[in-house]
């Protein structure tokens, strides 16, 4: 019960663990990141989302310095990523999307070998993690299933107790039970110390309970960078039903970002704070002969809205898909 008092010393401070300023990255004629500026404060769990090829992995590579920006600046722990040294790397834990591990070693050997690179390696934590994930230490790394490779990558990323965890699709090869185990482990790890986690995933249902910030990329641009709660509270789905008079063919009210339906019923996606939406609801109820039922949108249902165009002319509502 005593840790209730920890609310007096909030985990979130102003200090940024990683920061991007006007970052551009191109590969020959392809633009991978376009004018990306963002800050991730310590004590945040960021869900990095977006469609395939939107730049999530490229963005993560820029945090570790594996890639350097074509223009703009990246800093991690306040150090420019072109000057990151062993000290900074020891504070990071990374799970790569397609981990290439030393296949000829046994799991136990690989753990011992990687441990030698870190002063802070915690043998008992690594033992606990392999036990909880039911990962045998005897098997040969090359013979592990894709799911077990992912589990091992996580153990390798966590056992030196990093302050910053960068996880690129860490759940994609796991079965639902293993995914829940991994998420529970991450939440426990996060709760026990002041750390920062950036997790990229398409499994929005799995990450939704744990993340508190969403960064959404679309074609290398940031289309959303917001608190998850704020995001959910900034949109609503309205089911509009006529009380008799046919509904208009198009909706021109400001804030309506998507619309579909017919003369008797329509589904609108409305953007704006609750108070703004309430006044729109009142003005529409007086203009049209309608009932409006408002529903909240979860991350999965917000996703198409967040990855769509950033402009909001109402005509787009009909043009899209």
């Amino acid at each position: 019960m005593r840790d209730v008092t920890s609310r007096d010393t909030p985990m979130l401070t102003a200090e940024s663990v990683l920061s991007f300023t006007h970052v551009h990255k191109s590969f020959k004629s392809t633009t991978a990141l376009s004018d990306v500026s963002l800050e991730v404060p310590r004590g945040t769990i960021v869900g990095l989302v977006g469609r395939n090829g939107c730049g999530k992995t490229t963005l993560l590579h820029h945090v570790t310095g594996l890639m350097l920006p074509t223009s703009g600046t990246c800093t991690t722990f306040g150090v420019s990523t072109n000057a990151l040294g062993a000290r900074e790397h020891a504070r990071m834990g990374v799970v790569h999307q397609h981990a290439k591990l030393l296949g000829w070693m046994r799991v136990e050997q690989l753990l011992q070998y990687i441990a030698t690179f870190y002063e802070s390696w915690d043998v008992s934590l690594s033992q606990q993690l392999t036990d909880r994930l039911q990962l045998s230490r005897d098997g040969k790394v090359a013979e592990l299933s894709p799911g077990n490779v992912q589990k091992l990558s996580l153990v390798l990323a966590l056992s030196h107790r990093p302050e910053l965890l960068l996880l690129d699709e860490p759940l994609s090869d796991l079965d639902p039970t293993a995914r829940q185990d991994v998420l529970a482990i991450l939440l426990e790890y996060f709760s026990a110390r002041e750390c920062t986690i950036v997790i990229s995933s398409h499994l929005l249902h799995d990450i939704e309970p744990m993340v508190n910030r969403i960064i959404c990329l679309e074609q290398g641009r940031v289309t959303a960078n917001a608190d998850l709660d704020t995001l959910k509270e900034s949109y609503a789905e309205w089911i509009v039903t006529t009380r008799g008079t046919p509904l208009p063919l198009s909706w021109s009210e400001p804030g309506i970002v998507r619309a579909q339906g017919d003369a008797s019923q329509a589904r609108l996606i409305v953007r704006g704070e609750l108070a703004t939406r309430e006044s729109l609801r009142v003005s529409m109820a007086s203009r049209y002969d309608i009932d409006i039922e408002s529903r909240a949108l979860n991350l999965e249902r917000l996703f198409p809205v967040l990855t769509g165009d950033r402009t909001t002319p109402p005509e787009r509502a009909h043009a899209i898909r």
Partner: protein, 133 residues
């Protein structure tokens, strides 16, 4: 105390916790002085980010529904009768709004809708029966 949330719902998890605690306090199921689980314990139980729980607790504390004294567990604050009554009405109103909309859309008369509500109030609801009725 039982809090159940759906972290995949469009209503943010902190909001669901706030609403459920307000309901339980208004219904008297959580009397003044009841100790709440720690932020970390509730977060772990619900499988959510601990910051979500502290946000919910912080809001309820600001509203005067919970009381936090340094070094002690968070407890339910004593409520005035007027406060409780207002909260009860607010909760019921929220539950009735969709029903009123359905009654209108179904074209049910006000008299008939009110009669139905009155009937439901005097019935002892049995979940299984209601589900198939």
């Amino acid at each position: 105390m039982l809090i159940l949330i759906d972290a995949n719902h469009g209503v943010p998890a902190y909001r669901q916790i706030v609403d459920q605690l307000r309901f339980q306090i208004a219904s008297g199921r959580l009397p003044a002085g009841t100790e709440l689980p720690s932020t970390r314990a509730l977060a772990q139980q619900l499988g959510i980010n601990p910051m979500t729980v502290s946000k919910a607790y912080g809001l309820l504390e600001a509203e005067g529904l919970l009381r936090h004294r340094p070094g002690l567990a968070l407890t339910v604050a004593p409520q005035s009768v007027a406060q409780v009554e207002e909260e009860r009405e607010a909760r019921l109103r929220a539950a009735l709004e969709p029903a009123a909309l359905a009654a209108r859309q179904l074209g049910l008369s006000k008299t008939r809708a009110v009669a139905l509500f009155r009937q439901l109030l005097s019935e002892t609801p049995v979940a299984e029966e209601n589900a198939d009725a």
